[in-house]
Amino acid sequence: MTVADPPAPFDPYHVGRGAAPHPARGHGGGGEADKRVVVAYGFWIFLLSDIVMFSAFFAAYAVLAGNTAGGPSGRDVFDLNNVALETACLLVSSFTCGMAAIATGARNKAAFHLMMAITCVLGATFVTLEFKEFVGLIQAGNGPSRSAFLSAFFALVGCHGGHVTVGLLWLLTMMAQVFAKGFRPEILRRILCFSLFWHALDIIWVALFTVVYLLGTRP
């Protein structure tokens, strides 16, 4: 009669590493991680640090939102219809960016270029709408120097808009590189990082339209 092994403890995430070394790469047991995984992980860390930077702008805005120095408050200057349109543009562009990633997986150049072009148009529409909002505010005398509230508003929203603008340049670069060089491994890694960047900008926009626009205009 043999003695049965004791039942293995429930450890689905291999926190205790289990009895055998974790077979996956990049987890200590299976050897070096894939270059693709290392690159995307590094970019993920950068994105998180970028989000931490944005959180400082959010904190500044939360502190200064009430300091209007006799000038307009958010309720007086924000146009929620414009914001809803911007939000729709960015959300759908995040979706089409995902479609471009799927086209990349299928190595379909035509679908990739089509989806990236739609993403680019939607992103450019977003930047244009935001730019028009800024110009309207400044022309009405409500520029960043009007009050602490408006300084914090322009810094926070402008920082996000700047990121989207840089993202658009990166997007066009990726289209050109795929056009000229095709789906080579290094191009695939850049596409992965670009789509991470674009989706992260959409996540920041969710926090932004909630905190700045919706909470700022509540009745």
Binding site: P23, H27, W44, S49, V52, G98, L192, L214
Partner: protein, 133 residues
């Protein structure tokens, strides 16, 4: 994107943030995931704007509802667009994310608490001016 790791089962147990689900097969499934994410996120956005217009919700409870909706929508984006999962192949990504969330939480709540306490304890500006005279 199953062809990323065609011959290496060990590599397939590790995933980069943003990678499609490794067990997913075919384009249709990938598109379905993004579509579901788009519908969920769009619905939450629409609900946020609807509530913010003052419909349906008790006024003082609205900020909490809007913040809850925003956090839920960020979760939807993370899962359906960035493909951050709870699976063992994504542990590194989740740990980094958790650390980022901790820092963001400390920074924002710390700033708001400290600054509102300072505001509360500071005398009005005209009083400070008269003390400096």
């Amino acid at each position: 994107m199953t062809e990323i790791h065609p011959h290496d089962p060990a590599a397939a147990l590790d995933s980069a943030p943003g990678d499609e689900r490794l067990d997913g097969t075919g384009v249709a499934q990938g598109v379905g995931g993004y579509l579901l994410g788009l519908v969920l996120a769009g619905g939450m956005t629409a609900a946020s704007f609807y509530f913010a217009a003052g419909h349906l919700l008790w006024g003082p409870g609205m900020p909490a509802a809007l913040i809850a909706l925003a956090i839920a929508q960020m979760g939807v984006h993370l899962v359906f667009f960035l493909h951050i999962t709870t699976g063992p192949e994504s542990t590194n990504n989740v740990l980094a994310l958790a650390f980022g969330v901790l820092i963001v939480f400390l920074l924002v709540t710390g700033t708001v608490i400290i600054m509102s306490t300072l505001n509360h304890n500071m005398p009005p500006m005209d009083q400070i001016m008269s003390m400096q005279r």
